[in-house]
Assembly symmetry: C2
Homo-oligomer: 486 residues x 2
């Protein structure tokens, strides 16, 4: 269209930073003086690898020639090169890496790629009522350690950013799962401005073109039914011809995070701290049991935390009220207690006494809060690492006690089961426990460390053997003997 009448050939020259690519069929060749025939099959592509210092500092000159080789006309192309790149720790090294490939791809495993986000479910912030994720500001630098860093690099002459805008944005479907803080210079110390999150889908970068802007990203929600755990962020360069224009995207860079699942720890691992409830009053005192446990843990060199009757409101079944696990990212790992909807005396214990700096908290409750004994976390266990029919479960598999599939009966509530299944890495397995009066999976199975074979044994209780033993003891005249005190 823009070729002058009578033109037969052309050549292309450009300033040094520009690379000119001629795309043509093998048969088409330039003349000795590097001129190309005006052939519709020829495409000219230009690329630049150096960020511009001023607007239009790169030029491409196209000259047109007639059949006799006389220059007929010249076309100029002015180019400004800007860099816009959104980067995260996609290689899971603990540091943000630029130049990632397929930055919007996320894959599992040690050879996988894609950044990890933690649910900021601990309470680093002094004076906060609940978890850090519940508040839209950063109150302590310690809280930043739980977040994933995201860098937005923008390089280019400032003048260009009057007509072009850089916007960081999050899809509406992900916005209620995350919060993003922009680290900006304050008068005395850095400020962390909340810029994306629930109901905040986009953020226009002030002062674009001046290098790296640092963002901190926190997760607000664990994977669950309807939420895979994947969230994405994009940085777009928008052309904004006038102030009220919504902007036309010129370039978009997208990164993806996965919210780290809550992971349970099998009891074949070395214990770090044992929580036990002390019941002193009444005939039901557990002083004797506590004494035995104290002696054992001294031997095992393990910390013991005794929960007072006041804190536990005389509820001794701490194994049923909470389950310890953790979340892990390349940048941070911390334990997270999962609070059962069982809610007896220990209802508020985990929230009040365990949630704290670098100790997270999560809970799930059924609507209406109608629970059964199978909602207690004695009914929730995890195996050591196993391989099932060739499929590896390097973190083991969660075990839930349930009724038989075809029986209606007491069952762990859907809210908790949905949560457990959605974590995916410890693919839960339901086993039949509802035949028991209490109905917990830990009443008849447990895993113990072993030195050989798989490194563990599954101990299965035999009600039959126990019944025989009791019968035998009864016949030996011990029918009235006390089994255990405390």
């Amino acid at each position: 269209r823009s070729t002058p009448r009578g033109a037969a050939s052309f050549d292309v020259h450009a300033t040094p930073a520009v690379t000119v690519h001629m795309i043509h069929s093998p048969a088409t060749k330039p003349t000795v003086d590097s001129r190309w025939p005006l052939d519709p099959d020829i495409e000219v592509m230009v690329t630049i690898d150096v960020t511009s210092r001023t607007v239009d500092d790169n030029q491409v000159k196209i000259s047109y020639y007639d059949r006799e080789g006389r220059e007929l006309a010249v076309a100029w192309l002015y180019l400004t090169c800007v860099e816009v790149s959104l980067d995260v720790d996609w290689s899971r090294s603990g540091r943000v890496k630029s130049k990632g490939k397929d930055k919007a791809k996320w894959t599992w495993g040690p050879d996988g790629q894609g950044a990890v986000l933690l649910v900021n479910c601990d309470r680093d912030s002094p004076g906060a009522g609940g978890t850090d994720s519940g508040q839209a500001d950063v109150r302590t630098p310690a809280d930043l350690q739980d977040m994933s860093v995201m860098l937005l690099r923008t390089q280019g002459p400032s003048a260009i950013f009057t007509e072009y805008r850089v916007v960081l944005h999050v899809p509406e479907s992900d916005a209620d799962k995350v919060r993003v803080f922009h680290a900006v210079r304050g008068d005395t110390h850095p400020l962390y401005k909340p810029v994306l999150g629930p109901d905040k889908l986009s953020y226009v970068l002030d002062n674009a073109g001046h290098g790296d802007s640092t963002f901190y990203v926190e997760g607000l929600a664990f994977p669950d039914r309807g939420f895979s755990g994947l969230v994405s962020f994009s940085a777009s360069l928008l052309e904004v011809p006038h102030k009220d224009s919504p902007g036309t995207p010129i370039f978009t860079d997208t990164v993806v995070f996965r919210v780290a699942p809550w992971i349970m720890t099998p009891n074949t691992q070395q214990p770090l701290e044992v929580f036990v409830c002390s019941i002193k009053q009444g005939s039901d005192s557990n002083e004797a049991f506590l004494e035995g446990l104290r002696a054992l843990l001294r031997k095992a060199n393990c910390k013991l935390t005794v929960c007072s009757e006041q804190d536990t409101r005389s509820d001794r079944w701490i194994q049923d009220e909470l389950e310890f696990g953790y979340v892990e990212g390349p940048h941070k790992t911390f334990p997270v207690v999962f609070d059962s909807p069982r809610n007896r005396g220990l209802k508020d214990f985990a929230f009040k006494k365990i949630l704290g700096p670098d100790f997270g908290y999560v809970t799930r409750e059924p609507p209406g809060n109608s629970v059964t004994s199978l909602d207690s976390f004695g009914n929730l266990d995890v195996s050591p690492p196993v391989t099932v029919r060739g499929k590896e479960y390097p973190l083991g598999r969660i075990l839930i006690g349930s009724p038989l599939p075809w029986a209606s009966g007491r069952r762990m509530c859907k809210a908790v089961r949905d949560f457990l299944f959605a974590q995916t890495v410890q693919a839960p397995l339901e086993v039949y426990s509802e035949w028991l009066s209490v109905g917990h999976v830990d009443e008849f199975l447990t895993f113990v460390p072993a030195l050989d074979r798989k490194g563990f044994r599954l101990l299965l209780a035999s009600p039959n053997a126990c019944y025989k033993l009791f019968k035998e003891k009864q016949q030996q005249g011990h029918g009235e003997a006390t089994q255990f005190i405390g």
Copy 2:
């Protein structure tokens, strides 16, 4: 364990229906008289292909011999062969087929396998308040046509079923998505007993062993966020040693259905019936428009249904209130109207006037029912079949008008978008429409049939060209001209 002391070899004989398989290493061979050494590597497997007529009518005899070849002892194995098979139309032929392979597998496409279930969202039942899926009984044989047949075959001597029970069951997670009716003989005509569904997880088959039991299965819910559409049913043979035993599963057969998605029809297809609202009163009457439409549809030989002002409560924007689509299974196909949460004068129109025999109804509403103009179904369209970067969409792709991804603004509600995305077969695409005052995707694009190339054209409105045209007409002195009456 059961081999007699001094035994060195054995042989196996069985009644004719039994096949005896010897599993051994190539080196191990029987003696000339068909006796086998008592080698722990040898396994004996027996199979039967003929259903037993009486209990224990098959026998396997194992004789043990000492080194001198003298028979030391004999062990007898008594076998009863029963057949338990759950079958559906897994090949999508319109008929139930037995002997399916991988019956619990479901795959898409013309070469795929797995049965299909329809949401029983029409109203065949006279006097029913809503859709047929809303009632737990079958009131008319016509309603059975919308359901998928599932056969449970049980063959074997009746006596065996005093100690063994056949149970049909559905996973708790699927139970609220389906209802199953058992066709049983009534006094005068067949009865359809509701046997599985919400809160009914299992059904013990009376009278097992007498051949095929026929079940009718209806879907209650379309795929949606958190529900892929897959549901499974299992038939289990349980050993029940005593009346109160919960039963031990001996054998389980599982089949899987997918609830058919709601599918939209592109307007490149031949219209069957056109719905239009008549507005007679006031200056806003659409009589002239109706007259033109009538003439056009006479030419096109298409049925026209004029909705009265009373039925539409003077709301003429029927294109915005409802969207026609259909559900399809090998056994049945029927149209389904999707009712928008827009809910102006036409709020109850689809439910009252369109829902009926073989015309289904579905709706989705946001919590609190706060809608914007983008919730109108003029903002919902579908393309003809397309191929995008090598991926085929044989049913086209749904088009939804949205704000720019980084803009907060009016947006089609999540309940409707979740529903549309969950149907999966017409993978929705969001296009920018929110820049318009009304904001509907159908304000600037439509598809028309074409004889060449892809068989259609996408017509895109050009606000620019229109603006120029208006300017031109204004300059020609037509600035005050009326554009359109009616």
